[in-house]
């Protein structure tokens, strides 16, 4: 227990998650956009029969990654799916097209693998592209195809982010049983990007014995402290690239860094060695309002089905996509699972109506301050809920937001200057350093929208590339994407 620090571990439910597989499905809806890239146009029509693993949408003209049918069946409808802004979580006007398939067989694919040690790197990258794996990363995985803004030669470092430090969130990989596969996946990556260094970053709690990995020169292991902000790719990149480079803004791949999720090496192993494309995603469910589990499910299955019916019992509780500190509210549990969904957290609604809450000793309340006497009762279970625990008040300049900030910015000053429209002052305060950890909003006693404001200030930065792609609505009301290439061009023009 830390006296002078933010100890979010107190919230953790320490038990191991329950691994399970979901594959009894009647219909699935494969979204034609998941992760980085423009949304695709379907290559199938209603009535077509598709095989599991068959490419059902592909668009070589714009930056994208093919979409695959995750189960065999008949295409029954092309639907429009709700879409959410990936950064703010706001529901967008535009819809994402999806292909609804009436499942005829829950069997997987019968593909055949290749001997990865003999394949050329270029072929390995092609395999990754065809397996639908190249939509990961901030700007996609570079291949010979049009899957990323960058070319494979620009990749200097590949970083596998095995850090899960936001409260409650589980790892998607069982580092015990699946470790060999995972390790092979890393070696495949090393071959696919022969001129780059592979980094695998873990938090301290994940696995103790790592000698097996460090045998290879090409794969470097990093172990980071268990802090809630450490899982942010920008934060990890600091260790590899150094602060100065990151403060310039831009994409990580501008500096040659490709950050990929921990599921990637395993998926790459399956795609290359077993010949199974990425049609089964993994999703962790956790949080105090639900049962903890990690589920493997065909992409396109409705979320609530993928996780199990019992999630519906908790539907009135808040469901968050991503971690509780930086995730987005998920209102519609009928949405299909897409490729880059990895974790759901369910937090209970606040109980409310506690009489004179501010006079209670608060032994079960974890807090940055010790104004609660919970520090005196370390063994007592700490309650977590989605409550604001107070009303919004003017800033009193307590300075806690800048104390907890891992990248040394002054969120309250950014809020003050941003709200007054003082653009130059905001720019001076370097909001682009922010890694979106959300801790400033977490600790704020005045309940001010600090992290939200810093995010907005960051997006307004001159010369700052948006981390995410901007969307526009086309004539049919479907989402079309301003390709980041266009955006790059625009940026240069306007400056």
């Amino acid at each position: 227990m830390k006296i002078f620090g933010l100890d979010l571990q107190q919230y953790e439910t320490k038990k191991e998650p329950d691994f399970r597989v979901r594959d009894k499905l009647e219909t699935i809806t494969v979204p034609l956009k998941g992760g980085f890239g423009t949304s695709l146009s379907p290559r199938v029509e209603v009535g077509d029969e598709v095989e599991a693993g068959e490419i059902i949408a592909r668009n070589d003209d714009s930056t994208s990654t093919p979409a695959l049918a995750s189960l065999a069946g008949e295409v029954i409808e092309i639907v429009k799916l709700d879409s959410y802004h990936e950064e703010t979580g706001d529901k967008l006007e535009a819809k994402v097209p999806g292909i609804k398939i009436n499942v005829s067989s829950n069997q997987g694919t019968n593909g055949s693998g290749v001997d990865w040690e003999k394949e050329k790197p270029k072929n390995l990258r092609e395999l990754l592209y065809l397996a639908g794996l190249t939509s990961f990363g901030q700007t996609g995985v570079p291949t010979e195809f049009n899957s990323s803004l960058f070319s494979p030669t620009e990749v200097e470092h590949v970083l596998i982010n095995g850090v899960k430090t936001e409260p409650f969130v589980h790892h998607l990989i069982d580092y015990g049983e699946e470790f060999t596969l995972f390790k092979t996946g890393l070696e495949i990556l090393a071959r696919a990007f022969p001129k780059s260094q592979i980094h695998f970053v873990l938090d301290r709690n994940t696995r103790e014995n790592l000698e097996e990995l460090s045998s290879s020169q090409r794969i470097k292991i990093h172990i980071v402290e268990y802090e809630s902000y450490m899982s942010k790719s920008k934060m990890l990149a600091r260790n590899i690239l150094g602060e100065e480079k990151l403060d310039e803004g831009g994409y990580l791949l501008d500096h040659g860094l490709l950050v990929l999720p921990e599921i990637f090496p395993l998926a790459a192993y399956r795609a290359v060695v077993e010949g199974t494309p990425f049609i089964r995603g993994r999703l962790s469910l956790s949080g105090p309002a639900t049962e903890d589990r990690v589920v493997e499910t065909p992409i396109g299955a409705p979320i609530k089905y993928a996780l199990g019916e019992d999630i519906m019992d908790k539907a009135e509780e808040l469901t968050i996509m991503g971690g509780p500190l930086s995730g987005n509210k998920l209102e519609n549990l009928d949405l299909p699972v897409n490729k880059n969904m990895d974790s759901l957290v369910q937090l209970p609604k606040p109980q409310g109506s506690q009489v004179l809450a501010w006079l209670h000793p608060g032994l079960g309340k974890n807090s940055y301050t010790n104004a609660f006497f919970s520090a005196l009762a370390p063994n007592r279970k700490k309650v977590a809920d989605s409550g604001l625990h107070g009303e919004e008040r003017p800033c009193v300049y307590c300075g806690w937001c800048s104390d907890v900030c891992p990248v040394d910015i002054l969120p309250f000053q950014i809020l003050k200057t941003y709200d007054h429209g003082m653009v130059d002052e905001v720019n001076r305060l370097q909001p682009q350093r922010c890694v979106d950890c959300g801790l400033c909003s977490y600790v704020c006693p005045s309940k001010l929208p600090l992290s939200e404001t810093v995010k907005r200030a960051k997006q307004d930065q001159p010369g700052e590339n948006h981390n995410y792609v901007e969307y526009e609505e086309d004539e049919e009301g479907l989402m079309s994407v301003i390709t980041p290439e266009d955006e790059k061009g625009r940026g240069e023009e306007s400056e």
Partner: protein, 360 residues
């Protein structure tokens, strides 16, 4: 939802609809939010929020100052409590009236001002002066700037300075000798043994130093809250551990007082009192722990807090030694309050460079 809460929400919605009562809805809602924690979920990330809130934040200060307040009753009788009550009532009415007229929100900062203010006054201050002082402090020290969070000066000290300049005879010429032994002040309403000077005043006039033991435990004449160094320190340690105040300000303030007065005693022994006496006498500890650390009116960056504390110390010792006033804590804090934003600005310029004006 229990009966009381339902009743309050009924009252609230009734006043909202009634055109004649609309303007007191704010008061009802404030009372409601004080009594019941509103069960509102965060609607933007992070969805997990710390349990700390302004009410608890402010209440922690009240909790920290409570021992010193109790001690003031012990030393000076129940009149000390009467002063605190008058301060809360008069200041509360001023605050609520003002916020209602200005149609602003009622904020919780007054919880702290209301108790800190009377503790900075001499124990024999007439009760009506306490009321005048807190009203001036709340309105001119805080509300005219926009309420809690926007004030430049520490409102309690604004009230105090107003009283000492307006009623100098009543607030700085006569002091009471505290009672000790047994139940002391808990048995009576007021004390009437009068003396003419505090230990600092005695030093300024005659160069005599009060015994340090008395200064530490509280057997000395002075303002209500400042008499016992021990209890003030205890409150300070609690607040530092609870993160309510930053340790940098008191440490740099007291440290610079110590160093400067050590040097000063060596150079001008007749004017500058020795360091330990300086630390324990007068309102220095109370000011360093409860006043200089007021988050709104002090700097917010860590480096600026150091600078602020050092300046405070130098200024306090200088005023004590070389000016007409035996005590200088109030004036130095108010003066440095004005410089707090400047120090922050300097730190930001140092850390992030000057403001770039690209289009000019």
């Amino acid at each position: 939802m229990n009966r009381l809460e339902r009743l309050m929400s009924d009252i609230s919605s009734y006043t909202e609809d009634n055109p004649y009562l609309q303007h007191i809805t704010e008061v009802i809602d404030t009372v409601r939010s004080i009594v019941f924690e509103p069960g509102v979920s965060a609607d933007k990330s992070p969805f997990l929020r710390d349990y700390i809130e302004i009410k608890r934040y402010m209440f922690a200060v009240v909790l920290a100052v409570a021992p010193a307040a109790l001690a003031s009753i012990y030393f000076y009788g129940w009149r000390a409590l009467a002063m605190i009550v008058v301060s809360y009532v008069a200041g509360g009415i001023a605050e609520v009236t003002f916020t209602l007229i200005r149609k602003e929100e009622i904020t919780e900062g007054f919880l702290v001002t209301g108790i800190l203010f009377p503790l900075t006054l001499p124990p024999n201050t007439p009760l009506w002066m306490v009321a005048v002082g807190i009203i001036v402090g709340v309105i001119l020290g805080k509300e005219v700037f926009g309420g809690t969070g926007y004030n430049i000066f520490n409102p309690a000290l604004v009230g105090r300075v107003f009283l000492t300049t307006t009623f100098p005879v009543a607030t700085s010429s006569e002091w009471l000798i505290p009672m000790t032994g047994g139940w002391a002040g808990f048995k009576q309403f007021s004390v009437d043994t009068v003396t003419s000077a505090t230990p600092l005043g005695v030093f300024a006039n005659s160069g005599t130093l009060a015994p340090l033991r008395d200064l530490f435990f509280g057997n000395i004449p002075g303002c209500l809250g400042e008499s016992s160094a021990l209890l003030v320190l205890a409150g300070g340690i609690f607040m530092i551990l609870a993160r309510i105040i930053d340790w940098r300000v008191p440490v740099s303030y007291l440290g610079s007082v110590f160093l400067y007065s050590a040097l000063g005693t060596y150079l001008w022994p007749n004017q500058v009192a020795p360091p330990v006496f300086q630390l324990l006498a007068g309102g220095l500890l109370f000011g360093a722990i409860y006043m200089a650390t007021d988050p709104v009116s002090s700097p917010t960056t860590k480096e600026a807090k150091w600078v602020y504390g050092v300046f405070l110390g130098v200024m306090t010792v200088s005023i004590r030694a070389f000016s007409g006033y035996p005590e200088g804590v109030t004036y130095s804090i108010l003066l440095m309050n004005m410089f707090a934003p400047l120090f922050d600005e300097m730190v930001m310029t140092f850390r992030y460079g000057p403001i770039q004006k690209p289009y000019k």
